[in-house]
């Protein structure tokens, strides 16, 4: 009991935008660079507010940081694959923004890679829709670019 108390006194409290308090160990907290620098700047006993992160996203990040400490390389790979598979696209986007804000390096590697896999071999039109981008080229500007890089459009899905 006493041991547990000293452990929790070491732990860091994080308050998400939707008002949930998470207690995490320093090992977990330090893997989020943004929090690491906040701990250095403030008294660590304080509750750290995260105005850009909600409880779902923080719980997912903690789940990842705890889960990827598996013993073998293949177990980590399996865990990462399952972790990414469980997320819907909407969740993926929200989590990616949270990960970018908190600077969780390993997820900043894994998540863009996952999105990149999703859009491999997709067309320009698909990706404009996917990222909600407005084409600001005039038709003739775009035609000129397409002509210069015609080779890059061989064998691309047009859906």
């Amino acid at each position: 009991m006493a041991e547990k108390a000293s452990e929790s006194s070491n732990s860091i409290s994080l308050n998400t935008v939707d008002g949930k308090i998470f207690k995490v160990s320093p090992t977990i907290a330090n893997q989020m660079q943004t929090i690491q620098s906040l701990i250095k700047a403030y008294d660590s006993s304080r509750v750290i507010s995260l105005p850009h992160v909600n409880a779902f996203h923080l719980s997912k990040i903690i789940e990842y940081l705890e889960g990827k400490s598996a013993t073998t390389v293949s177990a980590v790979k399996e865990f990462e694959a399952q972790f990414m598979k469980d997320l819907s696209l909407k969740q993926l986007k929200g989590l990616l923004i949270a990960v970018g804000y908190l600077k969780v390096n390993e997820l900043l590697e894994l998540m863009p890679k996952t999105v990149a896999k999703l859009i491999e071999n997709k067309s320009v039109e698909f990706l404009r829709k996917f990222f909600g981008i407005v084409n600001d080229f005039t038709p003739s500007e775009e035609a000129k670019i397409r002509e210069e890089i015609a080779w890059a459009f061989d064998g691309v899905d047009e859906d």
């Binding site: 909407k90 986007k93 863009p112 859009i119 404009r128 990222f131 890059a152």
Partner: protein, 383 residues
């Protein structure tokens, strides 16, 4: 799927995603919008993309030909990592201002980090009228007016190499001459910086060891900012070693060979020095029948204890053992030329698993290419 799922993603995160896309898709995404166009064309982005993706990219053997009335150059790719399948891609010709005639003999001299060093000449002579450095994927290119002097009656070997410590590319030319006894040898080296266009000339005959070297005189291997060749010193008893000339620091050093009687026997003249997968390698013929031919690979540059021996072809498979290795694949597979000059891939037991029998190859035709979007260094005027 929800089509609007990734809307309004911060630019930094979009960049992180794009950095992990294959290079061909990335090029096609230049026409998504203006901000993507400039991101994908950005020099720093291209370097990061290369560092992140190049280790996993498939390496290809490439060759080039004039296509579509000279307005395009066609690159022929053979995938070394896969089953040696090939494909053709037609790029806008960097010679667009003066289209090449279809009987122009265009030739790849070297490749480096997505760049191709091309030379072209008429009448099927091998002396180029012009050198051009070209990255087909972003169209960036530069002609070397300087080397119009190549028309002089002198043969040469040339390389295009990247020196990380300077973040610069160099055109390296070895000018060949006849030495005493009818041998060919390097007369002098030229190192032309792409950043400053300054040219360093080095009298090869004044470098130590060069005059003792007695086979494959004209060949040199480039790795880690230095050129290398095999040499034998004759200070009483012949000692064989690899000589490294670092032209940036202007120093010459010696790399000891592995502890192996055969490699160190100066009477053995089948030994060759090559660079395979960015490591210096010694290639050995078979010692006796039946036996294996060997490759010694210096896994860590200048660390003698990192010499590692691979047996690559059982001699009974190829009796004369004229197998020429070209490229190693992790897991023990090897690509090379068999005795009929046909490209084959062997497994770790030396058994042929794939072959590319469309045409024959010459030894100097091998350019192992990795695609990139890299530009030439800053301070560098484009054509």
């Amino acid at each position: 799927m929800e089509s609007t799922s990734m809307q309004n993603l911060p630019e930094q995160l979009i960049s992180e995603i794009l950095l992990r896309l294959p290079v061909k898709l990335l090029v096609s995404l230049k026409c998504v919008c203006k901000s993507w166009f400039s991101l994908i064309s950005n020099t720093e982005f291209a370097k990061l993309h290369f560092d992140l993706t190049a280790p996993h990219n498939h390496k290809h053997l490439v060759s080039v030909s004039v296509y579509d009335h000279g307005t395009k150059l066609r690159i022929h790719y053979i995938d070394l990592e896969g089953s040696l399948e090939d494909r053709y891609v037609n790029f806008l010709s960097p010679f667009s201002s003066s289209p090449l005639s279809t009987n122009t003999n265009i030739h790849i001299y070297d490749v480096c980090r997505g760049f191709i060093l091309l030379g072209h000449s008429l009448n099927y002579t091998r002396t180029p009228l012009n050198f051009i450095v070209w990255n087909p994927l972003n169209g960036i290119h530069k002609m070397f007016p300087y080397y119009s002097i190549l028309s002089q009656q002198c043969s040469f070997r040339c390389r295009f190499e990247y020196v990380a410590s300077r973040d610069d590319y160099f055109l390296i030319i070895a000018w060949i001459q006849n030495l005493q006894g009818g041998l060919l040898g390097v007369k002098y080296f030229e190192f032309l910086s792409m950043k400053t266009f300054s040219c360093l000339q080095v009298d090869a005959m004044r470098l130590p060891y060069t005059k003792h070297q007695n086979w494959r005189q004209t060949d040199f291997s480039f790795v880690d900012g230095a050129i290398h060749w095999l040499a034998t010193s004759d200070n009483g008893h012949s000692v064989r070693s690899i000589i490294a000339f670092d032209f940036i620091e202007s120093n010459v050093s010696e790399i000891p060979l592995p502890q192996d009687d055969f490699v160190n026997d100066p009477c053995v003249n089948s030994l060759r020095l090559e660079v395979i997968g960015e490591c210096l390698c010694l290639l050995n013929g078979p010692k006796e029948q039946p036996s294996f031919a060997e490759i010694w690979m210096l896994k860590e540059y200048k660390v003698k204890s990192s010499w590692t021996k691979y047996n690559y072809v059982p001699a009974y498979v190829i009796p004369q053992c004229s197998f020429t290795p070209i490229y190693f694949i992790k897991g023990g597979e090897i690509v090379g030329l068999n005795q009929k000059s046909i490209l084959v891939k062997l497994n770790e037991k030396g058994e042929q698993i794939y072959c590319y029998d469309d045409h024959f190859f010459w030894e100097h035709d091998f350019h192992i290419y990795t695609e990139s979007l890299i530009s030439l260094p800053s301070g560098y005027m484009q054509a």
